[in-house]
Symmetry: C2
Subunit: 146 residues, 2 copies
């Protein structure tokens, strides 16, 4: 019983009884050095609460989908692209990714980036940008923003 009520943090953003997972299957979409852990699976609340860790220099897939993301940074530094904007990220910053909006999370070159991400349990598959869309977004360049 105690296992299912309280799961202690073991250090380094790993938890008792929480599996360290691949972010996505390799080759499904471009990304670098990201892990995923499902903290609460959404059986009783129709939302899945996950933790993602992006190693320094790593990044999540640039994608969009109908469902939203509610995000809180837990540790490290980096930035997020959401739509046309790029924002610096530090611990406890909050990010809302609206529906059908291109987004990507990047760790800094000298720091990992760990963040919580809430999604609805029922959700659509991510869409990937075409080459033209990717170029229009300036993805691959790094811009500073307020």
């Amino acid at each position: 019983m105690s296992e299912s009520i309280v799961r202690h943090h073991r250090g380094d953003f790993l938890w008792d009884d929480v599996a360290l997972l691949r972010y996505k299957e390799d080759g499904a979409a471009p990304f670098r050095d990201v892990t995923r852990q499902v903290l609460f699976a959404g059986d009783e609340i129709p939302a899945q609460w996950r933790y993602f860790e992006v190693a320094r220099g790593g990044f999540t897939t640039l994608e969009r989908h109908e469902h939203v993301h509610n995000v809180m940074v837990l540790h490290g530094r980096g930035e997020c692209r959401v739509g046309d904007g790029v924002w610096p990220l530090a611990p406890y910053d909050l990010v809302r990714v609206p529906p059908l909006t291109w987004h990507q999370f990047r760790a800094a070159e000298d720091s990992a980036l760990g963040f919580l991400c809430l999604v609805p349990t029922q959700r659509d598959r991510p869409q990937l940008p075409t080459t033209e869309e990717r170029e229009a977004l300036g993805a691959g360049t790094r811009r500073a923003a307020g």
Copy 2:
């Protein structure tokens, strides 16, 4: 636009564009020194993501309800009572409060306790224990547990 996409942490577990709220209306139920902030309101994901801060020596209401809580400690130390058990809490520990289970969060005497708490958007009202139920739980005593 940038306000609604990214809300930066301003320090001390306060955020841009997030209101610091009363935990509950005074007198509605027993508690001490707790504040509440709604980080994501659940318009698009049917869950509300809140942050609670319990000052040192403070505690939330001992209560139960049909809906569950999914909790992550963000900072500080304390303990949680869930059903018959009491667990020590430290940063990033995860707590699941099952349906209709008595629960209470307490900060340590020498440390605040800050935690994230996810609930479904649609939820029932909390029930308070009778005097007999409170005594049966041993509430008011402080027990150490693993």
